[in-house]
Symmetry: C2
Subunit: 146 residues, 2 copies
DNA sequence: ACGGCTGTAACTATAATGGTTACAACAAAG
DNA sequence: CTTTGTTGTAACCATTATAGTTACAGCCGT
C-alpha cells in the first residue's frame, strides 16, 4: 500500500507556485504540469489553503503562495493533505482475543514500536523545508538547461 | 492510507508460535487469538513459510517456528508479507509534464528525499528482532498475571 | 452582462483489503 | 484402508480509498 499521491502532487503544486510565481496559476494550468484533472488540483489546493500555505484569487482565479517556503516543511504538507492519520501508519487488526495472553498484549507492545518507526519517517519530512525542494529543483532545471 | 494489517497479524502469529510453542498451532486456533478467519491466517503463514520463518506439518497440521527469533527482524517480517514495495512507500503521480521545468524534474528531487524517509522508518524495524517483541510481550503477560 | 475561473457535489472505474465458502490433497490414527 | 482433521488455494464478496470526470452555482474583473 502506498501513501496517496495527493502528497507528492501537493509538493509539486507548491514548488510550481514558488518557481513560476509570475504566471497566472489557474487550476487548469497547474493540472497541465502535474498531468491530471483540474478538479484534482483544486481539491489539493483547497487543503493547502486551509493550512494557510496558499491563497486563491476569487473570480479571476489563480493561486499563489501565502507563506515563506522556508517555513513550510514537507511534514506540514503531508499533514495538510491528510494522507496518513497521526500515529496510524500501521493498521492493527481490530479485536485480538483478550482471553489469549498474546492477543491481549500484542497491540500495546507493537504500538510503541510502530509509532517509533512512523515517527522516524515523519522526522525526515519535518527536517526538509519546501525551500530545499525548490532549490534542488532550481539547480536541476538550471543544469538541464545547459 | 495504512499499511496492511497483514504485517501486524504476521508478528502476532510469530509471537504466538514462540510463546505457545507447546500447543498444536492450527490455523483455526491461531485465528481464534488474532480474531479473524482461518484462511486469512493460512495466507499469512504461507508468506512466512516462503520466507523460511515457519514450517507447517502436513496432514496433521500445526505451524511452528523454523528460525531463531533473534534472527528475524520486524523488517524481515514486513518484507515477507509484502505490505510495501521497495522504495515505493510514497505514490508519485504518473506522468508529470516533461515540457514544464518543474514537471520534468520534481520526481527526481522527491524520490531521493522520500526514499530517505522510507528508509528511516524501515531502519527502525530492522533494528528490532522478533526476540525483543516476544520478551516485551512475556513481561507484559507476567505483570498482568499478578 | 460576459467570460473565465473556483469550489463542491456527484458519479465512475479501479484496486487493495479482509472475510467467506468450497474443495482437493495429505497424513496420522483407528 | 477408511475416517478425521488440517492445509493450500481458488473463487467470490463487501468495503474502502483513490483518482478521474462531469456539471454547475457563485464570484469578479472587464
Amino acid at each position: 500500500m502506498k501513501i496517496s499521491s495527493r502528497f507528492t502532487v501537493a509538493v509539486h503544486i507548491l514548488a510550481l507556485l514558488s518557481i513560476e510565481n509570475e504566471a497566472h496559476c489557474t487550476s487548469d494550468w497547474i493540472a497541465g504540469s502535474v498531468n491530471t484533472n483540474p478538479v484534482v488540483v483544486r481539491r489539493v489546493i483547497g487543503q493547502l489553503k486551509r493550512a494557510g500555505f496558499v491563497q486563491v484569487r476569487q473570480g479571476t482565479g489563480g493561486a499563489f503562495l501565502a507563506k515563506d517556503i522556508k517555513e513550510i516543511t514537507l511534514l506540514d504538507i503531508y499533514r495538510a493533505v491528510d494522507v496518513v492519520e497521526e500515529g496510524e501508519l500501521f493498521q492493527m487488526h481490530e479485536h485480538p482475543n483478550p482471553q489469549c495472553p498474546v492477543g491481549a498484549n500484542i497491540q500495546a507492545v507493537l504500538e510503541v514500536i510502530l509509532r517509533r518507526a512512523q515517527a522516524a519517517m515523519e522526522h525526515v519530512l519535518k527536517e526538509i523545508p519546501l525551500y530545499d525542494v525548490v532549490h534542488l529543483l532550481a539547480e536541476k532545471i538550471e543544469s538541464s538547461r545547459s
